[in-house]
C-alpha cells in the first residue's frame, strides 16, 4: 500500500477507500507513525492549502477531514506515548449568548485533522468554563462568535482569564463572521483566523512561538 495513495484518498475525501487502505497498510507492516506523519497529516495540510487557495469548498474539506479521522481511528490505539498524535490541547466554544456552532465545528474538525486534541465546550459558554479549561491543561482556547452583539463576550472571556491569573498560560484565538484581525488585537487575543484552515496554521504558529519564547 503506497503512502501516496492514502494521501490522495484523504485529499479526495475517499472515506471508504481509507477504511480499507489504512488497515491494509498496517497489515503490511507500515508503522502507525509513518502513516500519520507521512500520509494523513500532510494530506490535511494539502486540503487546507487548497481551501485557502479557493480551490476547495467547505464540504470537500469536511469529506477529507472525515477520511482523515477514519484513518486515524485505526492508528490511535497503536500509537505509543512518544508517537502521540497531539499537536497540542485545544478547547473551543461559542461565547456566552451566541448559539451558532457550524463554523466552530469546522475548525475543530480541521484541528483534529492536524493532530490536535480538541475539547468542544459547545455554545453559549460562560467565561468560567474557559478559565477551568486552562486550569485543566488547555494550551489553546478558541472563542467563536457570529454576531456583533455577542462579540463583546470574547473580551469578557479574555478578561476572565486575566482575572483568574491564567491568561499567560494559554494561547487565545478568536474567529467568526463579524471578526477582524484588528478587533482580535483590540480585545487582547493572540490570534485571529478567517476560516477553519487558517485556524490550524495560526494555532501551530502561536503554540510554536510560545514554546520557543
Amino acid at each position: 500500500m503506497e503512502l501516496k495513495k492514502i494521501f490522495d484518498d484523504v485529499v479526495n475525501g475517499e472515506i471508504e477507500a481509507i477504511e480499507a487502505e489504512v488497515p491494509a497498510a498496517l497489515a503490511e507492516g507500515v508503522s502507525p507513525d509513518v502513516l500519520l506523519n507521512q500520509a494523513l497529516i500532510p494530506a490535511m495540510a494539502e486540503v487546507g492549502r487548497l481551501f485557502e487557495a479557493k480551490e476547495y469548498y467547505i464540504p470537500e474539506m469536511l469529506l477529507s477531514a472525515q477520511a482523515m479521522q477514519t484513518g486515524l481511528a485505526f492508528l490511535r490505539p497503536l500509537l505509543t506515548a512518544s508517537q502521540s498524535t497531539s499537536a497540542g490541547k485545544a478547547v473551543f466554544g461559542t461565547v456566552k449568548g451566541d448559539l451558532h456552532d457550524i463554523g466552530k465545528n469546522l475548525v475543530i474538525m480541521m484541528l483534529e485533522g492536524a493532530g490536535f486534541e480538541v475539547t468542544d465546550l459547545g455554545v453559549d459558554v460562560h467565561p468560567d468554563k474557559f478559565v477551568q479549561a486552562v486550569r485543566d491543561g488547555a494550551q489553546v482556547i478558541g472563542l467563536s462568535a457570529m454576531l456583533t452583539t455577542t462579540m463583546p463576550n470574547m473580551a469578557v472571556t479574555i478578561d476572565a482569564l486575566k482575572a483568574a491569573g491564567v491568561r499567560d498560560q494559554v494561547v487565545v484565538m478568536v474567529g467568526g463572521a463579524p471578526l477582524t484581525e484588528a478587533y482580535a488585537a483590540e480585545i487582547g487575543a493572540d490570534g485571529f483566523s478567517a476560516n477553519a484552515s487558517a485556524a490550524v496554521r495560526r494555532a501551530k504558529e502561536l503554540l510554536a512561538a510560545r514554546q520557543h519564547a
Binding site: G13, P59, L63, G97, D98, L99, M109, L147, T148
Partner: protein
C-alpha cells in the same frame, strides 16, 4: 417563482402554507460550493445533498408572520409608521423613499431541522453540513416566496415592492433592527423569539421590511448590503429584488 394571483392578504396575520422548491444545486450553494464544480469533481456530495433534501423536507414547518403598516413619514433615516412604530436606518432613506406601506415579516422554517443537525453533526459532519445548507436555503426560499407573494399582490394593483431589508445589513445594526421589527410582530405565534443577543430562535429564521408603493424602488440583491459581500462564499448572485421586475433563481 411567481405565484398565481393570490387572494388579497389581510393587513396582518400568519401564512403557513408554503411549497419551497429546493434542488440539489441550491443545497450545494447553501454549503458555499459551486454546484457545477462539485458535480464534476465530487459526485458523493451531490448524493449527500439529495439525501439532505429527502430527510430535510419533512422537518420543515415554514411560517411567516407579517404586519402591513402605512408609512406616515420618512424623516432623514427614520421611517415613521402608523401606530407610532419607528424604523431607523440609512437603508430606509436609501431604499424606501417610494414606500407608502411597509410589510414587516418574520419568517421561519421551525426548530426541527436545526435540532436534527445538532444531533448528527458530530457523528456525520458531511451530512450535517448538507442538512444545515438545506435549511439555510429553505429560509431563503421562504423569504423569496413571501416577498413574491406581496410583490404579486402589489403588481395586481399597479404597484411595486422594494428590496427586502433585514437587520444586520450595513447601516442597520442587528440589535436595533430586530427590536424594531419584533416590537410590531406576533412572532411568538409562529414560535420565533428574540434572544437578549438579538439572535432569533429558531436560528433558521429571518426578519425583514418590504416597501410597497406606486413607483418602482431601487433594484438590487440583499447580499449587496452585507458587510461580508467581498468574501462570502454563500451569496446567491441571481436573487434580485425591486426595480421593474424581480428575477429570482434558487
Amino acid at each position: 417563482m411567481v405565484s398565481a394571483e393570490p387572494r388579497p392578504l389581510a393587513l396582518a396575520g400568519i401564512l403557513d402554507e408554503w411549497s419551497l422548491p429546493i434542488d440539489v444545486d441550491a443545497v450545494l450553494r447553501g454549503q458555499g460550493a459551486d454546484p457545477a464544480v462539485v458535480r464534476q469533481r465530487r459526485p458523493a456530495l451531490v448524493t449527500t445533498a439529495q439525501r439532505a433534501i429527502d430527510e430535510g423536507l419533512p422537518l420543515l414547518r415554514p411560517a411567516v408572520a407579517y404586519r402591513q403598516l402605512p408609512v406616515e413619514a420618512l424623516r432623514h433615516e427614520q421611517l415613521r409608521l402608523a401606530g407610532g412604530a419607528v424604523i431607523t436606518s440609512p437603508l430606509m432613506a436609501q431604499h424606501l423613499a417610494p414606500a407608502e406601506q411597509v410589510v414587516l415579516m418574520v419568517c421561519t422554517i421551525g426548530p426541527a431541522l436545526e435540532q436534527r443537525v445538532s444531533e448528527i453533526m458530530r457523528g456525520n459532519p458531511s451530512f450535517g453540513l448538507a442538512l444545515d445548507g438545506f435549511g439555510s436555503m429553505a429560509v431563503e426560499a421562504l423569504v423569496a416566496a413571501a416577498c413574491d407573494r406581496f410583490e404579486t399582490q402589489a403588481a395586481a394593483q399597479g404597484g411595486y415592492t422594494s428590496i427586502p431589508l433585514s437587520p444586520g445589513m450595513i447601516g442597520w445594526p442587528v440589535d436595533v433592527g430586530q427590536r424594531q421589527i419584533f416590537s410590531q410582530m406576533p412572532a411568538a405565534d409562529i414560535g420565533v423569539s428574540l434572544l437578549d443577543s438579538a439572535q432569533m430562535s429558531p436560528r433558521k429564521s429571518s426578519s425583514l421590511v418590504l416597501g410597497l408603493g406606486p413607483r418602482p424602488f431601487s433594484e438590487g440583491r440583499a447580499c449587496d448590503f452585507c458587510s461580508l459581500r467581498e468574501t462570502c462564499r454563500y451569496q446567491d448572485q441571481h436573487a434580485h429584488y425591486g426595480g421593474q421586475r424581480r428575477q429570482l433563481r434558487l
